[in-house]
C-alpha cells in the first residue's frame, strides 16, 4: 500500500511539473533544427487564429485569416473574420487594405514600428535566436518545445515583454504569443501550414 501511494505521489508530481527547462543540448538541437528549416523555406502559407487577451475583458477578441510569407522578408497578414484587413510588409513599406480603403506607411522613418515588424516576420520562421537582442529561455512539456524571447532593448521592452514561440516536431512555428508588460497578450495559432509552394505575385500586389 505504501509503495502504491509513493508511486501515485511521483506520478502526480510529474504531471504537475509539466513544463521543464530544456538541457543545453536540447536547446542547441532546437536552434539548429529551426535554422535549417528557415534556410530551406522560401514560402509559407498558413491559416491563423488570433486571440487578443486583455485581462479586464470577459472574452478574448478573436480574429482569423491567412499568413503569406516569401523569403527573405515579405509578409502579408490577411484578416478575414470578423473584419477584412490586410497588412503587407514589403520593401520597408507597410501597405494596408482596410476594408477596401488603401494606405501605406514608410516604416524606415519609424524605428520602433519597423523593428516590431521585423521581429514578427522573424518570429514566423522562429528565427529570433539572437542572444544580443534577446534573453532566451527554453522549455519542454512532453513533445511540446517552447522558447521565450525577452527583448534586451529597454525601449522595445516597454511594449513587448516577451515573444513565446511553440515549435512543432520539424521546428516549425505552431504558436506565437506576444506578451506585453501588463501581462496582456496576443496569441496566434497557426494551422494548415504549406511550405515552399508557389505564391502568385498578385498575392503580394498592393
Amino acid at each position: 500500500m505504501r509503495k502504491l501511494l509513493f508511486l501515485l505521489f511521483i506520478l502526480t508530481v510529474s504531471l504537475l511539473q509539466g513544463q521543464s527547462d530544456m538541457t543545453p543540448i536540447e536547446a542547441k538541437a532546437l536552434r539548429e533544427q529551426v535554422k535549417t528549416l528557415a534556410e530551406s523555406t522560401t514560402t509559407i502559407v498558413s491559416d491563423f487564429t488570433q486571440n487578443k487577451h486583455l485581462d479586464f475583458l470577459s472574452n478574448d477578441i478573436e480574429s482569423t485569416g491567412t499568413l503569406y510569407f516569401k523569403a527573405p522578408d515579405v509578409v502579408k497578414w490577411e484578416y478575414k473574420t470578423p473584419y477584412s484587413y490586410t497588412a503587407l510588409f514589403k520593401s520597408n513599406t507597410l501597405y494596408i487594405n482596410n476594408e477596401g480603403d488603401k494606405s501605406s506607411m514608410d516604416m524606415a522613418s519609424n524605428k520602433l514600428f519597423k523593428r516590431l515588424i521585423e521581429l514578427i516576420a522573424n518570429s514566423i520562421r522562429g528565427n529570433l535566436f539572437d542572444e544580443e537582442l534577446f534573453a532566451i529561455s527554453y522549455f519542454k512539456n512532453g513533445n511540446k518545445r517552447t522558447a521565450h524571447f525577452a527583448p534586451k532593448d529597454s525601449e522595445f521592452a516597454l511594449y513587448i515583454k516577451e515573444f513565446q514561440i511553440d515549435f512543432g516536431a520539424e521546428g516549425e512555428v505552431v504558436q506565437l504569443i506576444m506578451l506585453e508588460p501588463s501581462e496582456d497578450y496576443t496569441k496566434i495559432v497557426f494551422s494548415n501550414r504549406k511550405v515552399n509552394q508557389t505564391i502568385e505575385d498578385a498575392v503580394f500586389a498592393h
Binding site: Y79, Y83, Y85, N98, L116, S182
Partner: protein, 201 residues
C-alpha cells in the same frame, strides 16, 4: 431704413444662441438627467473596428471599452495585430494613461481623445434645458464647461453635438442601435478635419 432693419436682423441672428439659430422650441424637461446607454452595460465587452482620419492621414485598429463599475472605464486602442496604441483608465472623471505609443503621445492629441471619451462614456448628464425640433427631443447639458446637445428620436439617442461659440465643433453620431449598443458610432470634428468611425465587431 429697410436696409438697416435687415442688417440688424442679420446681426441678431448671427449672435443668436445655438438653440435659437437652429429654431429649437423650449419644452419643460420631464426628467433631470439624460441617459447615454451605449457603454453602460458592465457585462458587455464593447469591441469596435476603428478607422481614424485626420488631415489625409489614416489609422485603423480595434477600439475597446469596458465598463469596470460605475464611473470606471477602461479604454484601449490596438492595432489589428494586437499591439497597444493607447490604454486609458477613466475613473470618476479622471484619466490615467496606462500605455501610449510615443507617436500618439502629443498633448493636444491626448486632450482631444480624452475630452471625447469623457462625453462618449458619460452615462448620466444633468439637463440644463429641454427643447424639441420636429420629431427630436433635445437636451442641453454642460460637461466640463462646454455645452452638449443630446438629440433623441423615439426614445433613442441619435446624436450628441458639442457646441462652442454657437457652432457645432464635435458630433457624436450613433446608428444601427441594437438594445444598448450602437453598432456604428462616428465622432466628427469638422474644424479639425478629424473623423473617427467605429463599427461593432
Amino acid at each position: 431704413m429697410r436696409f438697416l432693419l435687415i442688417s440688424l436682423f442679420a446681426l441678431l441672428l448671427s449672435c443668436a444662441s445655438y438653440p435659437v439659430k437652429n429654431d429649437f422650441k423650449i419644452i419643460p424637461a420631464t426628467q433631470n438627467q439624460v441617459f447615454n446607454p451605449y457603454f453602460s452595460d458592465a457585462k458587455l465587452d464593447y469591441i469596435y473596428k476603428a478607422h481614424l482620419q485626420f488631415n489625409g492621414y489614416t489609422l485603423s485598429g480595434i477600439f475597446i471599452v469596458k465598463k469596470i463599475e460605475d464611473k470606471h472605464y477602461r479604454i484601449v486602442f490596438t492595432t489589428e495585430m494586437g499591439n497597444t496604441i493607447f490604454d486609458f483608465t477613466l475613473q470618476n472623471n479622471v484619466f490615467q494613461t496606462n500605455q501610449i505609443l510615443p507617436d500618439i503621445n502629443k498633448k493636444w492629441v491626448v486632450n482631444i481623445l480624452q475630452k471625447d471619451f469623457r462625453v462618449l462614456l458619460k452615462e448620466n448628464a444633468l439637463i440644463a434645458h429641454g427643447y424639441n425640433l420636429s420629431e427630436s427631443i433635445i437636451y442641453e447639458v454642460k460637461i466640463n464647461n462646454m455645452s452638449y446637445y443630446y438629440y433623441s428620436m423615439d426614445d433613442q439617442l441619435k446624436k450628441i453635438a458639442g457646441v462652442q461659440s454657437r457652432k457645432e465643433i464635435v458630433n457624436f453620431i450613433f446608428s444601427d442601435v441594437e438594445k444598448t449598443m450602437a453598432q456604428k458610432i462616428e465622432i466628427i470634428h469638422a474644424k479639425l478635419n478629424l473623423r473617427i468611425t467605429l463599427k461593432a465587431i
